[in-house]
Symmetry: C2
Subunit: 363 residues, 2 copies
DNA sequence: TTGTACGCGTTATCAG
DNA sequence: CTGATAACGCGTACAA
């Protein structure tokens, strides 16, 4: 015991001489081996609980490991088997709870699979996105989960990553040009439903606040809106679709503009909840009433749809599940051989009808 | 459709039994050395741009490195200098945008310092928090940023970590018993201000919806409320302070209960925005009007305080900055020698007065 | 100015 | 069953 202590002291002293900076003293296999006067190989095998090691040896190894509070060094392990056990994530932003919810789902799966997660935000710009992708690459992530910015896609770089065998899985906002696994919801169908809901509710003049032009979800939702309108032979003027954006101020501005131009629809199907809430704010400010004067429907709801007055009709996306599925697909791409064919998983969303889109009686 | 999903997952699980072996072929120092028929040592030195290497050699090394798209292997580097360049983060939840905002600030600083960030969520339970701490420890993080759960603290384990030379920095929800750097806002002062604001506005009967009992912020805010009330000689009954919680449903329930008991205050200072919004919802449902019947003040506002009707008076916390400061303190603890004394940084918050707490004229 | 050799902590291989 | 030994990729004394 004394000798062990002395040796350890000398060992630590020697190390701290070569590197005077702070030195964490994690116990290593070697420490256990020395203490027990056996080889590191045996210790390694014992701790891995392998069949080809004496039960008694195992016992004392485990005991000593516990005594020294041994923790395997994951870095050494990774160097050895040459994979980082890390995957990267790129989301546009953190402002709404939509992406955080997805992240929770991702984390669950990633943890279970024994991987680490490196989270980055592109802040909705292609430039930062590219920087993040390179950062992740430099950190040797084994795969990347990404929801692209509203500015568009760094398609060339996505392809480059895939070519250098770093699999990518897109979710929510997917790339149209890259062949890779994708997780989406049936935006088209839900947009169609939402629009039909407004039509069936008896609203005549219906507008759509569309999202950023380059996003696939924007196009799908717009397509759903237009097709529903066509199916029911509604007039579609050039004003029927207004391109707004993703944040609430855009919806606010658009609504204000309509009011100013005195071009008021009876109902608006909005690209997402923030724009719908922005529009709602403008409506109230102008002394109008929702849904009496203008009805609203949002998309990809967060908790706040329930808290506003009137509660907002909105499409509920399975965000947690989306994260789970995306992570599973990526881990499959990383660990399976041969690599599975890229598939596009379409999750089921649903429309929650609330007061903001319910036609007032006698109107 | 459900069956399709089930099958899909079974499919994925079945395939995950097959064993992977394909290895990414990153270029290494050795590859460059071989191509140039020089030693890896020289390549290493050249790439580090050191003075003691021939300029021409440097040139060809850089050229070859670029040609082979060489990226230094961070894992090998970490094994060598024996630090993981990783720090861990534990937040209670992701539901509101409060913590995500903080995370953005943390990420900025952490990236700049060349560290990685491992993010975990405790889901407001001590058990998950402990599991996360151990996970981070096993991943050899060099330090931990934490905002504790509403259930209380794993104080023993915090101390254990600090003793084993893993520095911890607390932010927002801090530990009272552990000596470590902390980043908070002046909860007491702001609560005092907020209460005084209600008093000066002419509200007579003022209540407080308090947060989870074990949190330091709960106690500070409650203290601020009580002291302001005392200063202005207001009656404080046993009903003046109601313990609610952190989420909106609690505020909703508490408000409903007050209404049912017909024990209506003129104004309520709420622990946070979600509880205030929950209360607001209850107020509206019961046909009452805010602020005419009951005025509300929230805390730690997120964007949604602006979107509701009426806009909510709330304390604005510098969340992004809080993340930055906390990260800087931690990195100082990790990299500086000698380790700086633990300091508690108190950030400046401000009260944004909006319609929800403005006394109606002639009332 | 460059090459050799070793160590970081681990696991795999091959002898005993 | 166990022990040497060689990797993994990098940096760096020490020698040439």
């Amino acid at each position: 015991m004394d000798i062990v202590f002395a040796l350890k002291f000398i060992y630590i002293f020697a190390l701290s001489f070569t590197n005077p900076d702070s030195m964490k003293k994690y116990a290593t296999l070697k420490d256990i081996a020395n203490a027990l006067k056996i080889s590191t190989a045996t210790v390694s095998r014992a701790l891995a609980d392998r069949w080809d090691v004496n039960a008694e040896t195992k016992r004392i190894v485990f005991e000593e490991a516990k005594r020294q509070n041994y923790k395997p060094n994951p870095i050494a392990k990774r160097l050895q088997n040459r994979h980082s056990k890390t995957i990267g994530l790129v989301v546009p932003e953190f402002k709404t709870s939509f992406f955080p919810n997805i992240i929770s789902g991702i984390q669950k799966v990633v943890d279970e699979a024994g991987f680490q997660l490196l989270i980055t935000q592109s802040q909705e710009t292609m430039e930062v996105e590219l920087r993040n992708l390179k950062l992740l690459e430099n950190n040797m992530v084994e795969g990347i989960l990404i929801s692209i910015t509203r500015e568009g896609e760094n398609s060339d770089y996505y392809q480059e990553l895939i070519d250098s065998e770093i699999p990518i899985v897109f979710f929510n906002r997917v790339s149209s040009s890259i062949e890779a696994p994708k997780v989406i919801i049936d935006d088209y169908k839900l947009a169609f439903f939402a629009t039909e809901h407004l039509i069936y509710s008896g609203f005549k003049k219906i507008y759509h606040f569309a999202g950023p032009e380059k996003l696939s979800v924007t196009m799908e939702r717009k397509r759903g809106f237009l097709d529903a309108m066509k199916k029911h032979h509604r007039d579609i003027s050039e004003n029927s679709v207004l391109t707004t954006g993703v944040f609430s101020d855009k919806g606010y501005d658009a609504m204000k503009m309509l009011i100013q131009k005195n071009d008021l629809p009876e109902a608006i199907f909005c690209f997402n909840d923030p724009t719908a809430l922005g529009a709602l704010k403008a409506i109230k400010e102008e002394g109008l009433i929702c849904p009496d004067d203008i009805a609203l429907v949002g998309f990809s709801e967060t908790e706040l749809a329930l808290l506003v007055d009137p509660p907002l009709t909105s499409v509920q996306q399975p965000s947690f599940e989306m994260g789970e599925v995306a992570a599973r697909l990526l881990i499959a791409q990383i660990t399976q051989n041969p690599v599975p064919e890229p598939e596009t998983v379409c999750l089921i969303a649903k429309l929650n009808v609330r007061k903001s889109s319910i036609k007032v009686k006698g109107d």
